[in-house]
């Protein structure tokens, strides 16, 4: 029941709602649980509400973060 989907804010409708999309799916969600939602933000959507802004990370950055956290050398 805690399934949540990463989506991107396309535009804000008012202080409370926004149009978000992922691939071909576009929906309206409530953004009132976020302090400062902006178009272009990647957010996690659960039950029609954006519950957090995802920290932007390029794929490579994420892999290097993973390596650092896991203390992997990369030549294992």
């Amino acid at each position: 029941m805690c399934l949540a989907t990463p989506m991107r804010i396309d535009r804000l409708l008012d202080g409370k709602r926004a149009v978000v999309s992922q691939g071909t799916v576009t929906v309206q969600v409530d953004v009132s649980l976020l302090p400062d939602p902006k178009p272009g933000d990647h957010v996690i959507v659960h039950a029609g509400f954006a519950i957090e802004v995802l920290t932007p990370e390029e794929a490579e950055e994420r892999i290097s973060l993973f390596r650092k956290m896991a203390e992997l050398t990369g030549d294992a």
Binding site: M1, C2, L3, L34, F49, I51, T55, A59, I63, E71
Partner: protein, 358 residues
């Protein structure tokens, strides 16, 4: 992606090395039902060395809701005094008589919602009071109470919550207080933690604690979470680590937490299969008592009655696996479920049924 595959292989190798060094069987509990499904769907179990087993915890809100709650909701829907609104997950859950709300859906007394935002429209369109079955963990709770507060601001007076909100940390604390729980570490829930933050699990670092790693839901996330856990076990550490930092921030989501604190207060709460957990649930604060369905409709306390033979209560506590249940896969299937662990798509039995039998 090649980079991902290589990293996955490194993570798996790292897990195997740590497991070999630990040199004894290790039991990790995934607390969250979404992890239960994703670990199986993405085949993570098959990548782990023999010594490491994953057991499912009490992390499916539908599964830990007492059967009497469904009985009470059914009775209210049939009384004609209210319309029941609910997330789809609750529709098929059988009460103690094995009847469920889905049997009433043709009669217009049960409305399914995808988002609590829909409640305002449903209440406006209804001539009857609307009672929302407020089931969920910390992830879902702020969405429901936000919608409730919006409805109140909009002057809506016919919307009520029948709360069965549950909070995760007290349940973990209770599991750890058992003498032979056998849990070596926790894969902590990603989206619950988005709301409550890593600090909420600090008790895991205490004397009776166990290592905990907040974990995301992609295969690399889950392998990383498992690696960090076995590393801690190998080093005899006991820390709460955040392996999902792109989503889980220090302190969680302060706005969501404020909405919860404004509207709800902790209460001792009955969890199906576990019993009453001190502080294990949240109820409406006094200021919102006029939106409390239990008070408005004199709903009795929800009793918990298990169907004969059903091992759901042991499965929820991580003390049995589904194939040990005499009903599993024979009498109890996703199409004709007996217990809540088979009903919910995130229930442990449903996940086993779907992904372990192929």
């Amino acid at each position: 992606m090649n980079g991902d595959r290589k990293l996955a292989q490194e993570l798996v190798a790292g897990i195997a090395r740590a497991a070999a060094e630990i040199g004894r069987p290790v039991k990790l509990m995934e607390v969250c039902g979404t992890h239960t499904v994703e670990l199986r769907r993405q085949g993570i179990h098959s990548l782990l060395p023999d010594g490491i087993s994953l057991i499912s915890g009490p992390g499916c809100p539908v599964c830990v809701t007492p059967s009497g709650y469904v009985d009470n909701a059914l009775a209210l829907a049939e009384s004609g005094r209210a319309v029941i609104a609910t997330f789809g997950d609750m529709l098929k859950v059988p009460g103690s008589s094995r009847r469920s709300l889905s049997g009433l859906s043709g009669r217009g007394v049960v409305k399914m919602v995808y988002s609590p935002s829909e409640l305002i429209r449903i209440a406006k369109e209804s001539s009857l009071p609307v009672v929302f079955l407020a089931v969920g963990f910390e992830t879902t709770i702020p969405t429901v109470v936000s919608a409730l507060l919006d409805a109140r601001d909009a002057g809506i007076r016919n919307l009520f919550l029948y709360t069965a909100f549950k909070v995760v940390p007290p349940a973990l604390r209770l599991l750890l207080s058992g003498p032979d729980h056998g849990i070596d570490g926790f894969i902590l829930p990603g989206h619950v933690s988005v709301i409550i933050g890593p600090e909420a699990y600090q008790f895991l670092e205490g004397p009776d604690g166990r290592p905990g790693v907040i974990t995301g839901f992609e295969s690399l996330d889950m392998l990383l979470g498992i690696l960090l856990l076995v590393r801690q076990i190998q080093r005899h550490e006991r820390k709460v680590e955040n392996a999902y930092p792109r989503a889980v921030k220090p302190g969680g989501n302060p706005r969501a937490r404020a909405v919860i604190e404004k509207s709800l207060e902790p209460r001792d709460d009955a969890w199906r299969g576990i019993g009453v957990i001190p502080g294990g649930g949240l109820g409406l604060r006094f200021e919102l008592a006029d939106m409390d369905a239990e008070k408005r409709f004199d709903i009795p306390p929800a009793r918990d009655v298990e169907a004969p033979g059903c091992l759901c209560s042991l499965v929820i506590a991580g003390k049995a696996v589904p194939p040990q249940c005499p009903l599993f896969g024979r009498v109890c299937t996703p199409d004709d479920p007996v217990g809540p662990c088979m009903v919910s798509s995130e229930g442990t039995c449903a996940a086993y049924f779907r992904y372990s039998r192929q």
